[in-house]
Structures are given as C-alpha cells and as structure tokens.
Symmetry: C2
Subunit: 378 residues, 2 copies
DNA sequence: ATATATCATGGAAGGGGTTCCAAAACCTTC
DNA sequence: GAAGGTTTTGGAACCCCTTCCATGATATAT
C-alpha cells in the first residue's frame, strides 16, 4: 500500500471520513477536493457539485488538526486571563468571545491561578503553536515574552496592560478619576477624600494623578491627609475609610470630607458600610463615587465610572484578527517600519460616569429609595 | 530531497525547530527523539541525556498540532456553556479550569449566544475533532447529538442537564427546595408562599415537588393560591410577589403568608423589593429564602440554597478525563455493558442551606443591619 | 564459544489536510 | 487543423509528530 493512500481497516472504532474517501467517491483527485473545501475558484461548477455531493453523502467535515498542521494555522486564539472571577474579566471575555464567533475563531482559555503560572503559559504557548495568537488581559507581560511571540509570527494583543512591543487597549484611568472628582465638585463638594488602591499598581498611580488634576482644575489645593491607599477589596476599603474617619471626624484634624472617591466599587462598598456603621448617611451627609461599575453597583445605586469592558474585548479580537491577516497577506515585503514590523497600536478607551444615587445628585427612582438592607456578613 | 526530510529553507520567517533538527543535533534517529519526548523507557540514559541536551540547546517544544494529528488526540476539551454571564456558569467553569490544569488539558470555550448556535456546535465539534471530549453545561442535548459524540469516541459529560446516553452531574433540586421550606417551617412559619420559576423548566418542577414535600412533612396542606410561577429574573420575581400581595394582602383571600420561598436569588431580590415598597419589613414581617447563592446574596444577607458549582465543574472534568483514559486503555475487549459501552454515570449533588438574615433566624453581624440601601434602578 | 533472550535504535509508514507544479482538457484565433 | 493561451485537474511533497517493525547491540544462559 503506497503512502498517500491511508488504510481504512481499523478495528470497530469508527474511522472518520477523509479527503481520500471524498476523492474516490466523487471520482476526482485530492487537489480538487481540497480546492472545493477552500473555495478555490479553479473548479468547474459540475465538479464542485459532485464533490459537495460526496461530502454530504459521507458526512464529511475536515479534521481540524490535520488542516491546522498543513496550513500552519489553527484558527484558535489563546486568551490569558487572571483567574476570571471578577466581572471585569468576564465582561472582557464576553466581548472577545462574541467577536471570535464572527471571525470563526475558537478560543482557548488559559487562566492564571498562581503567580508562576503566567510565565509557564507565556513560554509554552508560542512554542507549541496550538493557537495563532493571543490576547492577554491585565497581566503584565515581560519584553522577552512579547518577543518570543512576535518572533514566531504570533500576534499578541494586550488588554488593560501594556508593552511597547505589542498592541494594547487601555483605559484612561486619569481621565476616569478626574471625571469622578469633577462630578463631585460640580455638586458643590470641596473636601473630597480618596480611598485609592495600592500605589504599586499603575492604575492607582494614574487615578491619583486624575484626582489631583481634578482638584487643581477647581483651584483646590491637594491635601494628602485626605488620601489613603488600600488593597482593591471591600474590607480594605472599609478599613481605609476607618483611617479617614479617625483623622477627620474623631480627632478633628481639619474639616471632615463631604465626599469620598473610591478607586473601585468594592472599596466604595466598604466605605459606605463604614460610614453607615457610624451613623453617617450616604449620600445625605457624605457622597460616595466608586469605579468599575460592577453589577452590584447597579443594585446598590452606587455612582461610578464605567469602563467599556465588553467593547475592549471585542476590539482586542478585531485587532488580533487584523494582525493575523496582514501577516498572511504580505509574505516578503511590507509597508512596515524599518525593523520589519508594523508599528504597534495603542488604543485608549475613555471611561464614562454613571450617575446613580450614592452621590446624591439625583433622587432614587420613585422618589424613595427602596430599603432592602445590606447586611455585613462578617 | 526525500520525503521525511523537511526542507529548512523558508524565507526570513523563523521556522520552528522540529524533531529532525533534534535528531541530527543529537546524532540519533527520529524514533529515539520521539521516545524521549514520550518518556518511553527504552532509551539508554546517556542517549536520553544527549537528546534532552539538544532539545534545550535548540529551544525545542513539540508542535501541538502535529502531535495531535499523529496520536489522534489534542489534549483539549470543549466546554459548551450558555453565554456565561451568570455566576453559576462562571463558577462551574472555574472548577473545570482548575481541574483541567491538573490533567494538563486545555479548554476551548464554546459559548452559546443564540438559540441555533447550540446545535451548530454539537454538529461541528464531533466532526472536526479539535477536542477530545466535551462538557456541556445546562444546555439540553438531543439524543442524536449525544450519539454522534459517542460514535466518534468522544466522551461527553453533562453538568446541570441530563441525557441517558452520557454521564451527568446534577443537583437535587427537590432536596434543595425541601430544605428551604423545612428551614422556614422550623422557624415557625406555616403559611409559606412560593415564587417559583416557569414550570416548563425541569428545575422548577422539581423545586415545586420539593416545596410540596416539605409542607407535607409538616402536615400542612398544599395551597396553590400561595404559589406563583415567573421567569427567573428580578423583575419577574417582583411581579410575582405583586400577585401574591394582591391576593392575600389586598383582597384578604385567606391569611397572608409570613414567609416566601423564591426559586432563585434574583427572584428573591425582586420579592424583597416589592415587599419593602409596600412597607412590609424583611425579615421582621415576612421572611424570605432564595436559591442559588449568587454573590449578591452574600452582600444583601439573603438566606439561600447553595449549589456546589465549583465542585461540579471539577468533578465533571475528572469524569471526562477518566473516560478518555479508559477508552485508551481497553482497545478491543472491555468489561462494559452488552452494547459495548460502559454504563453511564449520574452523580447527584446535594445543595446546602446558607443561613443569613433575610429569614430572621439570626440577627445580622453586629446586632444591627448596616443600612446601605438598595435602590431600584428602574 | 554459541544459542537465545532482551534492550536500544533507526526509519518507513502513517495521521489528514494544503500547495504547487506539471499534465490534460478546453478555447480561441489564424 | 495547428499553434498558443487558459482553465481545470491529479498527485507528489510537505506540515511534524507517533507507531511499529526490523536490525543491531548487549546481556544471559548453556
């Protein structure tokens, strides 16, 4: 039996229909079947019809792996995300998925649980070439890893994180923070506290900058005593507010703030819990603005800054697919930059203010807040 | 140039290192390299060392697609989920992912947005063989589709859905509902309303049964006037409670219920909103128990029934991997049932009661509920 | 030392597609 | 009807591994 004429004599296991079976059935050569499969125009209509007939009759569908091996392309995209419980990741993923469907790409989810995990993926993925490209969400990517993707011709798109070597989609944190502060200023607040995230995160630095810019715009001097730094979670937000409380309410160090801007909604929730536990009413006595627009915020009526998460996911996939295509298009030459690579794109998204009730700028829906109580589950 | 000696003369594109390069570099044959790769013991230690050395030197990693084609196995699992915004899917997925990592499997996420989508996947996946098996979450699967997976030797595991032809992991809805009702009974409630889901969902039927059983156990006759059926969402829950209100409070048709069991937490939230909008306090005047334990419930202090979502995902992957292995193990014979297939497993999970504050059985954390208000964002 | 069993090794033959070149078939045109 | 151009078609070579058989090398028994 010559090579190129696969055996059909397996055991009881159903051996799948191959291109050879189709060729025989339709009385044509391999090339022709392949051409039909790939919509190559160089096939006579009658022939094409015969081939398609054979494929339907035998219930044929090309084997993804064989195809992938031959054309060196899997039509699968890797998505690397931190363990995706947070709404942010879920939303971004949703956008990615949605777009992927339109491009006929499948996505493999590489989710990172532990610290080391991330680098294992970054090393394995470009080598094993199971995917044609990858989208990284939030995780910081080292230059060497970006390089190893690019060198193998695998495009990389970063969402909510950056690296000069790859395309990235980011949110303008400064602008978001400034918007939040401006909103509070517009409501007449002059003493605005800030429960920020830890400054070792870039996002926190940017949000601080935005906070300062917002104040400066209104001619209000920056007062470090109004700012605390905490982890991005509820408990920490609560504790952070606790610090501000001690300083400004208990010890009367200067006038207490009349508004708090929290760098995330979960922190905002902690802040509100703390305030209310001290009998300080939100928004009547202190207004609160959060950041993220997590689902909970809608339910709790928290005014916040919304990041276009879904949209970012969608665009990321779009960009990735474009890269894949431009790579296939230009074989040897290209209109790219001197180093032989097309220039990198950096798309900045502008977050938007979502006004609800925690800042007191407008009353709740039907005049009165509906009074489901949020209990502390400590 | 003979076949089997791939050309290394591509353009500028980095051509990846192959097994041939390693063989040459280490001065051994292909077979030996492959054996080293697959931990085949029939390799002299020195030889093995040389091969490994060559692999490291050249930065070799086997190409996933080629490997997949050769061994007819991709080490990739398909996960088919309804568009996974709901916490239930996210949690199950998390469990699946977590387990997958341990088995060195990747997962491709097939998420179903539209109605038709589902069947497209069920037809395409077994034909293209990009994955070795699949886990289906919640979606109903037709017999013919189960069949087409099995026929191709691709195991199928169903989570939160059933089909006699495949393994399935389900939750005991009856038990869950009965538990909720028993809890309310134990607190002294005798008139318990039930805001159920639509009866066309199997889950709703089971929960209704559980509700009835619970009452019967306490010798309380079933009163259909206390039961309404609504869609599984917040608005519907609210409307459903509205109906009960009209009937029992407004028109005084019999004593009003002192407790409500809702078939999902989102419905429970709607119920609470409605009650409070009428000035009826929860839990003081009416106790409420939900179902699902979504994240929100923790924040709102809703007593609910928790399904072991993460655990189900984990077990599903475990089961799938076992199936894959037992399939590889027994080539011709097997200790399977007469039709040549191993019997199908059906694993039932028991949901558990999570007691919080919406049923009044215990006070909130520090004695007083913290009064963040939940505003209605209508 | 010889016969025999055991282990290590090389490499052809797949796995199921795509690509590309050369040959065949079909049109035009003079 | 021959020459020249265009399409259509067949199939070898290749994508990169695994599998398995045959061969050579080594160890064990006689």
């Amino acid at each position: 039996m010559k090579a190129g004429t696969p055996a059909r004599l397996k055991g009881l296991v159903v051996t799948s229909v191959t291109i050879y079976d189709i060729a025989k059935q339709a009385g044509v050569g391999l090339g022709t079947v392949s051409r039909v499969l790939n919509n190559n125009p160089h096939v006579r209509p009658e022939t094409r019809a015969r081939v398609i007939g054979a494929m339907e009759e035998l219930g044929y569908h090309p084997a993804a792996m064989a195809r992938g091996l031959a054309r060196q392309r899997s039509d699968t995209i890797g998505v690397i995300v931190p363990f995706f419980t947070r709404p942010f990741f879920v939303e971004v993923l949703k956008g990615i998925q949605d777009a992927a469907l339109g491009y006929n790409k499948d996505i493999i989810l590489y989710s990172v649980l532990q610290r080391g995990q991330k680098n294992v993926y970054f090393e394995r993925i470009p080598r094993e070439r199971k995917v044609d490209g990858a989208i990284v969400v939030t995780l910081r990517v080292h230059d060497e890893h970006v390089e190893s993707f690019i060198r193998r011709g695998m495009p990389l798109v970063l969402v909510d994180t950056e690296n000069a070597g790859a395309d990235s989609l980011v949110v303008d944190n400064m602008h978001g923070a400034e918007t939040a502060v401006r909103h509070l200023l517009s409501l007449g607040h002059r003493r605005i506290g800030f429960v920020n995230g830890l400054l070792r995160y870039r996002a926190s630095q940017e949000r601080l900058k935005g906070y300062q810019d917002g104040l400066r715009g209104a001619g209000i001097p920056y007062d470090p005593a109004l700012v605390v730094e905490t982890e991005y979670d509820r408990e920490s937000g609560r504790a952070g507010m606790g610090k501000l409380w001690e300083q400004h309410w208990e010890r009367h160090t200067g006038r207490p703030p009349t508004a708090i801007f929290a760098a995330s909604d979960v922190q905002a929730i902690g802040v509100i819990e703390f305030l209310q536990s001290k009998g300080i009413r939100v928004p009547q006595a202190v207004a609160v603005v959060g950041y993220d627009d997590i689902e909970l915020s809608k339910y709790l009526g928290i005014t916040t800054i919304r990041q276009p998460m879904y949209e970012m996911g969608r665009r990321a996939m779009e960009l990735l697919v474009n890269r894949l295509e431009e790579r296939r298009g230009s074989r040897p030459s290209s209109q790219s930059s001197p180093d032989g690579r097309p220039p990198t794109e950096r798309i900045v998204f502008t977050p938007e203010l979502v006004v609800r009730y925690s800042c007191g700028s407008r009353p709740a829906a039907n005049g009165d807040p509906i009074s489901i109580r949020l209990f502390s589950d400590v």
